[in-house]
């Protein structure tokens, strides 16, 4: 599946830095000035940190107005760093649209490492794309010695700036997110069981895909408006699959306690490893479908392998 993104003309406004700490004391020493600095400037400060760090922050600075705790990934989120980045971008886009430039602090948390820590590499690469046009100063904290070497390798490639000794400096190891993901592609998520519905389709059967998905959603007690939005999201990904995937594609649908999950598989190559993460420019006729699909789904994970391009989407009621 080839999905094109908008190339924006204006300067990148995200400032994305990494910082490495040896101990929890050192972590707080580095983090506190950033948080208080942002608050002192009257900016909103958003944090995505470990529960213990959150406690220490509150103990040190109280509960000031302007401090926002971002939701940590949970459940199936950790199978998709790009989905976490997309959702965080959605949250921060709303925040900066109303409150202006923001300071954001995020922290490595080993419970999200998964099998090999590559979650963090995918997340930070996707953050570079998804947050690129937001007025945000983002600092990501990593332990100097994490469990997986991949975490440090990814952090070194994904952050254009490094924070040390209270100073920001240029990171010579920085690589652009598409190169990072070319080297370490987004992984396939954990296999699901036999689907409740399986359908192969071409460009002239998209209406049958919509009908089947809408029927599945309605029979699983999705409200009409929500079902319509999920059908739209599925339609857009399915359209890409037949447009760029060389004809026939397949959709599988699961309906469980956690709601609607579907996968769309095609035989095409994935042109952009991170499609639909950037808001498309209004004059750009293409690339809007996957962007809108990501806004409407809880997770949308794109990966590729030797057989083609694959998308898994989850959408709760």
């Amino acid at each position: 599946m080839k999905v094109e993104n908008t190339r924006r003309a204006e300067a990148v406004r995200l400032r994305h830095a990494a910082a490495f700490y040896g101990s929890n004391e050192q972590l707080l020493q580095m983090m506190l000035p950033i948080v208080s600095g942002g608050l002192a400037r009257g900016e909103p400060v958003a944090v995505a940190v470990r529960p213990s760090t959150e406690e220490s922050l509150y103990a040190a600075i109280g509960d000031p107005a302007g401090l926002i705790v971002l939701a940590q990934p949970e459940g199936t989120d950790i199978e998709s760093g790009q989905s976490v980045a997309a959702n965080r971008a959605r949250e921060l886009r709303e925040l900066t649209a109303t409150a202006g430039p923001a300071t954001v602090v995020s922290e490595h948390w080993s419970v999200l490492d998964g099998a090999d820590g590559s979650f963090w590499t995918e997340l930070d690469a996707a953050v570079n794309v998804a947050l690129s046009d937001l007025p945000i100063e983002l600092t990501c904290f990593f332990p100097e010695i994490p469990l997986h070497q991949a975490i440090l390798d990814g952090a070194a490639r994904n952050h254009p700036l490094l924070l040390s000794g209270g100073e920001l400096r240029h990171n010579p190891s920085f690589r652009n997110p598409r190169d990072v993901l070319a080297e370490r592609p987004a992984p396939a998520p954990v296999l699901l069981g036999a689907p409740d519905l399986r359908l192969t389709f071409g460009a002239w059967q998209l209406n049958e895909v919509r009908e089947a998905v809408e029927h599945a959603l309605t029979s699983a007690d999705y409200g009409a408006g929500r079902a319509e939005d999920v059908v739209l999201a599925v339609n857009e990904v399915a359209t890409n699959a037949v447009e760029h995937g060389g004809g026939e594609a397949m959709i599988c649908v699961w309906l469980g306690n956690d709601g609607f999950t579907c996968e769309i598989h095609d035989r095409g190559a994935l042109g952009d490893p991170l499609p639909g993460l950037q808001a498309p420019h209004p004059s750009e006729p293409r690339g809007r479908g996957v962007w809108i699909a990501r806004q409407l789904c809880d997770t949308l994970h794109v990966w590729a392998d030797g057989t083609g391009t694959h998308v898994r989407m989850r959408a709760a009621r």
Partner: protein, 306 residues
């Protein structure tokens, strides 16, 4: 009969027994709704013999802002359930004549000036070794010959074999036709005047280029005509799905209009309005969205299918 006259549904006031051969479900619903609406507007009783399509026809009447609740409550519009329709089609010809005759006479006794009958008769095709539909048609001709009644028979291409349609077409004096600019059985585009078109069905990757072509042609015609209005109007009342690229193409088309012209979208359903909204419609100065306030319309004046 070789010479078959072709008229529009609205012209049916002067014809008592006509047939129509819709090429798509969308056309079937459109023509049935127009025939029903015409009867209701004239104060006639309308009998609709349902064989599974009543929901879609009622939805189309709602799109067309034709009030049906009161006519149904008062018996002006009667929907004959599918089982009854099928039983009637299984009955011997004399009995069918009697059923139809009694229905018409009953309506006249209640004070209706005339009666309209329509519906799907394809079930009759499935009867093994039964009487041909042609015999039923002859019987209906006989029943309505001296009564103020109008019958519109639908033989749609998706349910009737070609030979059957040819035979039944020859049987009817009049064939009602509603020409379309485009109809692929997913999307149907009709137009009743320069600068205006109605889209019914769904727009997706498979038929999206048609929309751009339609807008280009419609705009060119409007620019060339001295009398055409400066608003290009698309009635989307019956548009049930619009994909993202389709919405983007409508927004872009409006942005590229000459400054003298606007693109006006009428009857936009919430589902379609949300997609347009997400695709920049609010920022396109020459695009106007006209959303219906509510799907169930108040009684009163109605607009016929266009």
């Amino acid at each position: 009969m070789e010479s078959v006259m072709t008229r529009t549904v609205e012209d049916m006031t002067s014809v008592d027994h006509a047939c129509a051969v819709p090429v798509s479900d969308e056309q079937l619903w459109e023509m049935t709704a127009a025939f029903v609406a015409g009867g209701l507007a004239a104060g006639e009783q309308v009998l609709y013999f349902d064989d599974g399509t009543a929901t879609d026809v009622l939805a189309r009447l709602a799109d067309d802002r034709v009030p049906v609740e009161r006519p149904m409550a008062q018996g002006q519009l009667a929907i004959v359930p599918p089982d009854t329709t099928r039983t009637a089609l299984r009955s011997p010809v004399p009995q069918v004549k009697q059923i139809v005759g009694t229905a018409i006479d009953g309506a006249l006794q209640k004070g209706f000036p005339a009666v309209r009958l329509t519906g799907q008769l394809s079930y009759a095709l499935q009867r093994a070794g039964g009487v041909s539909l042609r015999e039923y048609d002859d019987a209906i001709d006989e029943v309505i010959r001296d009564r103020p009644a109008r019958v519109l028979c639908f033989y749609d291409r998706r349910r009737f074999p070609d030979e059957a349609i040819d035979e039944l077409r020859a049987q009817h004096h009049t064939e009602v036709a509603v020409p379309a600019i485009y109809d692929d059985n997913l999307l149907r585009i009709t137009s009743d005047r320069t600068g205006s078109a109605r889209l019914a069905g769904e727009i997706d990757h498979s038929n999206r280029p048609r929309i751009r072509r339609l807008l280009d042609t419609t705009l060119d015609q409007a620019l060339r005509s001295h009398s055409a209005p400066s608003d290009i109007t698309l009635d989307l009342s019956s548009l049930r799905f619009l994909d993202v690229a389709g919405a983007v193409s409508l927004v872009h088309a409006a942005e590229e209009f000459p400054s003298t012209h606007r693109l006006v979208l009428l009857g936009v359903r919430p589902r379609v309005a949300r997609v347009l909204d997400r695709c920049g419609a609010p920022f396109a100065a020459q695009l106007v969205l006209n959303q219906p306030e509510t799907r169930t319309t108040h009684d009163g004046a109605h607009a016929a299918a266009g």
